[in-house]
């Protein structure tokens, strides 16, 4: 068992399932001979043939729409969008069809499909190649939104997504496609969807982050530990539906929570998490749920992207604000 990167784990999961399940097909722009612009489908066309690994013409609505047709006839399509920034032409098919088919036909037809897309900033890419709009997708009823943050979770969660009977959008944090290596057994074992992963235990504050932002978040937790602050770090992994119970379990210990995301702040996932904590665990809170996020601006071109992205410094500062916060009633 050798160490593999996150993007290699994606390839490994796709290959495993292509081998195991003849219903599966993979398609998208440049996924064939080129193996995808990030090489996530490297070698798959050679191995599984042009009938199962296909380059589509350049049209995202095509990718999303044919997946619906394939899925309702019993295939397991996995469509790749080259970048999250180019999914939007396909929103109609995702929002109006893929996610509604089961409901509209009262279960007669369904869409067991996966849409994959690399997402997120920090790689000095051109315009439209760096956004994080997971909250847009989380807002769509009937969709699952899954974000892996390590090679092992990429492998296990992608397998789960492909085997899931409903549509999943699988957002791959491209900044860490190649920065972390891990041993991942190619055993075909899926990890559970709709389930948080606790990446670090701590009693003082709960930090919630996903995708690439976990790198900064774990570094911040490390730095806080030097100062005697023990942060618990949770990766929700499935952003929708959200495993709020695991988050509440953590809050039982810590009573304080900071959500960290690259995406813009307004109506971002942090807002949803904070609202659910408010609804279900208000009595556990010693401070408001804090957010450290991207700004409510357009994702800048790369010269300014480091100012936009939450840094370890910004996360540590946010955590300290959450820790220093005293309830007005307990202030003398």
């Amino acid at each position: 068992m050798s160490e593999i990167t996150l993007v290699e784990a994606v390839t490994q999961a796709l290959a495993f399932e292509l081998q195991a399940d003849p219903r599966m097909v993979v398609f998208g722009q440049d996924v064939g001979a080129n193996g995808g612009v990030f090489r996530a489908t490297e070698g798959l066309q050679q191995r599984f043939g042009r009938e199962r690994v296909l380059d589509t013409p350049l049209a995202e609505n095509t990718i999303a729409g044919i997946a619906v047709g394939m899925a309702v006839q019993g295939l397991h399509p996995v469509g790749e969008f080259q970048f999250m920034g180019f999914i939007y032409p396909a929103l109609d098919q995702i929002l109006s069809h893929a996610t509604r088919m089961r409901n509209r036909t009262r279960g007669r037809l369904s869409c067991p499909l996966v849409y994959r897309a690399p997402y997120g900033g920090g790689i000095h890419a051109p315009e439209h190649h760096s956004e994080s709009t997971e909250a847009l997708f989380a807002h769509i009823p009937g969709l699952r939104v899954v974000v892996p943050s390590s090679p092992a979770r990429a492998y296990g969660l992608l397998l789960a997504a492909i085997r899931d009977p409903d549509p999943v959008i699988f957002l791959e944090p491209k900044r860490i496609y190649r920065t972390i290596k891990q041993q991942v057994a190619d055993s075909g074992t899926a990890l559970p969807l709709d389930h948080c992963f606790v990446l670090r235990e701590g009693r003082d504050v709960t930090l919630i982050a996903w995708g690439a932002m976990l790198q900064e978040t774990l570094s911040a937790a490390e730095q806080l530990a030097q100062e005697g602050i023990e942060a618990e770090v949770i990766d929700p992994a499935t952003l929708k539906p959200l495993d709020i119970h695991s988050i509440i379990d953590s809050l039982e210990k810590t009573g304080r929570c900071v959500v960290i995301h690259e995406a813009a702040r307004f109506a971002g996932m942090g807002a949803e998490i904070a609202a659910q904590i408010g609804e279900f665990a208000f009595d556990l809170l010693k401070a408001p749920v804090w957010r450290v996020t991207g700004y409510d601006t357009v994702m800048p071109y790369y010269q300014l992207e480091d100012f936009y992205l939450p840094s370890v410094t910004r996360i540590v500062a946010g955590v300290k604000e959450a820790l220093d916060w005293d309830h007005p009633r307990s202030r003398g």
């Binding site: 064939g32 350049l58 049209a59 032409p89 439209h128 700004y295 800048p300 071109y301 010269q303």
Partner: protein, 365 residues
Amino acid sequence: MHKPRMQLLASFDIAYLQYLDERGSPTQVLPDFATADSLCRAYRQMLLARLVDGRAVKLQRTGRLGTYPSSLGQEAIGVGIGSAMQASDVYCPYYRETGALLERGVSIEEIFAIWGGDERGQNFQRAPHDLPICVPIASQILHAAGVAFALQYQNASQPLRVAVTCAGDGATSKGDFYEAINLAGVWKLPLVVIINNNQWAISVSRNAQTAALSLAQKAIAAGIPSLQVDGNDVIAVHWAVNNGIERARRGEGPSLIEAVSYRLSDHTTADDASRYCPQSEREAAEKLEPLGRLKQYLCSQGVWSSDHQIALEEELAQVLERALRHYNHAPKDAPNALFDHLYARLPEAFYDQYDNLLNCSESHS
């Protein structure tokens, strides 16, 4: 078996235009605009585009520029388009546009700034009505249709100002392309759409993109005229674009031009074309490239020589060095620019975030 008898409803032709073949020999009498002066100028602009692209790729390799899409081999398309437009027309570019942008008055520093990760590059100082370069494939073609409508709406008397746009062969697969030419046809908009058919959309070849014999014929479905031109022949490109623009100026509506060329570079500096592009195909395409044939023609006419070439290369090297100095010494954009151009006036609701950004950027630097 029953075979129904049918009548011919309509039939269509697709014309192909070339003036200079790959050896620089005229294939027919050249049009009037093809004077020694104008062709020497076109040659200069194509060479400048090539040098800018070459330098940009080098800058990327040394970490001073981000991902860059070179126009290598497609210089005749950009220069043919730009030289056919009036300054008052409006251009809606995509991203592989070095030749056309330079013709429109966009500076080399601005081009470098865009790919160097700085929005200020899109603030074209000398092309105030043109749209910024557009990355989401084919979306600019719809903008161009809207621009064309606005130009007509604001001044319906001829000659009209005209909207011109360019997109790749891959872009013709997108709804935006069909939607735009369809609407332009029914609304008879003053629009010219040029397709830079460089045979590749990253790794997807032209033949994997569509079963259609030509991209020009896609105009038939929209009911607008079109033609295919040798996109490596700047005279043919200029003639076709000029012809489309003149039609549009007279109020005769839109047209489509497919300019056939070849992408002689990787898709961008982030790509490796050797993974999917046969070496032999690229080598064959190199023989068709646009600069050599124009130079040969000019030499055959006695208006160009190796002395001219050396002088031009020296001049352009200086132009490039000057631009590079400006690019290298431009002060960095301020972080607050994130908010300064978000709305006409920043809503109060964002003041906290703005302050937070300023505080963080102070500790950042």
